[in-house]
Symmetry: C2
Subunit: 284 residues, 2 copies
């Protein structure tokens, strides 16, 4: 595995690989790698001849008061994990290399970026979309894999890539989960052991909703309220949002509609740690 820090060098390598007819897959991360990331690399290895992982804690997608400075940065451990997972190139630029002093361009994904995660985190999706477009420009992949855990992020990326005519296939990968169903996340390490136990309530709420839908209920608004009550029954849990949404637009979906896919999405604070999760439902 080669570690590259210079954007121009990474770009030159990627262009050369393309001319050699190599099929390039990229996995974008902010480091603090866990099973979730490694499952994306595994998928990339299956699909692509060359796998690039980007590792960059992107300041423009953190809001004021968010955890940019305390975000974990275990670089040596991340590099070792990436190497064993079969990454060919680890692209880990400095903030200055990505955002030199003269930098000024931002991408606005439009209304979808203002809903749910976007409402809780103003500017987040603009910063995220901007760095994803930059990293696609630098790594020039044929395929980019993103976890479905960040479902709205995935939808925003699909929107921006289509709108800007960027020639890349975007693939969503299933959420990796712990044995009790908690979605793997770099932020899980912030949880105390008591909070960690309570945190499984996100998945329990998903299972509750799934059971109700399996029983034929279509009143998604009511199911969401019940699932939210279940979440808030944990002493240190506080729901930010919990809602069914249309999969493509993230507009709220109050009732199940045959033939339409939707997602149950949620953001829950456990103590001071904010966790998100989601589940996809299709209706016949």
């Amino acid at each position: 595995m080669q570690i590259i820090t210079n954007p121009a060098e990474m770009q030159a390598i990627a262009e050369k690989l393309r001319l050699q007819h190599q099929y390039i897959g990229v996995v974008m991360t902010m480091g603090a790698l866990h099973e979730g990331h490694l499952s994306l690399v595994k998928l990339a290895r299956e699909k692509a001849g060359t796998v690039i992982m980007t590792l960059f804690v992107n300041p423009t997608q953190f809001g004021p008061g968010e955890d940019f400075h305390r975000y974990p940065r275990p670089f040596e451990q991340d590099a070792a994990l990436a190497r064993s997972a079969g990454v060919d190139y680890l692209f880990a630029p400095s903030t200055e290399a990505m955002y030199p002093e003269s930098y000024s361009t931002m991408i606005d994904p439009g209304p979808i970026a203002t809903r749910f995660e976007g409402a809780s985190r103003p500017g987040h999706f603009s910063g995220m979309a901007t760095v994803v477009v930059k990293l696609l420009g630098i790594t020039r992949p044929h395929l980019a894999i993103f976890g479905e855990k960040d479902a709205q992020q995935l939808t925003v990326i699909r929107r921006v890539v289509a709108d800007l005519n960027i020639a890349v296939t975007i693939l969503g990968a299933p959420v990796a989960r712990e044995s009790d169903g908690l979605a793997t996340s770099s932020r899980n390490i912030y949880l105390s052991s008591d909070e960690r136990q309570q945190a499984s309530v996100l998945y329990r709420a998903i299972r509750y909703a799934a059971e109700q839908i399996e029983q034929g209920r279509a009143d998604l608004d009511a199911i969401a309220s019940e699932a939210e009550a279940l979440v808030n029954s944990e002493p240190d849990a506080q729901t930010g949002y919990l809602s069914f949404v249309d999969e493509a637009t993230f507009e709220p979906a109050a009732k199940a509609a045959p033939g339409k896919a939707c997602r149950l999405i949620m953001a829950v604070r456990i103590g001071s740690t904010r966790l998100i999760d989601n589940w996809r439902f299709e209706f016949q």
Copy 2:
């Protein structure tokens, strides 16, 4: 010359050309082709193995009340001119192909987009930058040539392309001028014959400023005021702005500074037609 209207088809052709090690040059236009555009194609022919011209009247860079609907669209004539100039592919998509109903992404180039042309035309540079990024994604060129007539546009494009790590060389081409110095422009056809005569005052103002600077003056602010008075001495001329600016940032430059390049930029309304022009100065 092949005429392509489908973005995906153009993108597939461009990717194939790249894999065949073809060096692709692109010239982006809104049609109504004149000598200015053709001089860009000539330059592209000298530099590139394959020349793509894009022809798209981009609605997102016109403001309300601007001339989007009355902008000239002589397609057959444009296609004939492009063919004789040696264009290999003419990419002329529909508005719907570029901006389908679900479209929502915009690019904000930052503060430079709010100065001068950006102040006169709110949203113009955001719309322009967005379509340029889209067209670069579709035509995948190694080289893109833009006229220096739209000097601020050229600087915004350089900024956005660098910021978004798009692997393309941006080349500025000298302003093409009529025999009396008037810069060629699709909008010149709006001028009455009397207005057409008055319109040469933009170039006369440039020559006046150049003479003052050749004589060793460094008080750019004062020179600009004198040049503006010269412009406004024409009965139907009204200056929007006329200023010396730093070449890279378009921040106003009041005094000449040794070793720094700046531009004299101006927007002038002749009757109801808005014209722009500029000149580059270097100081020893």
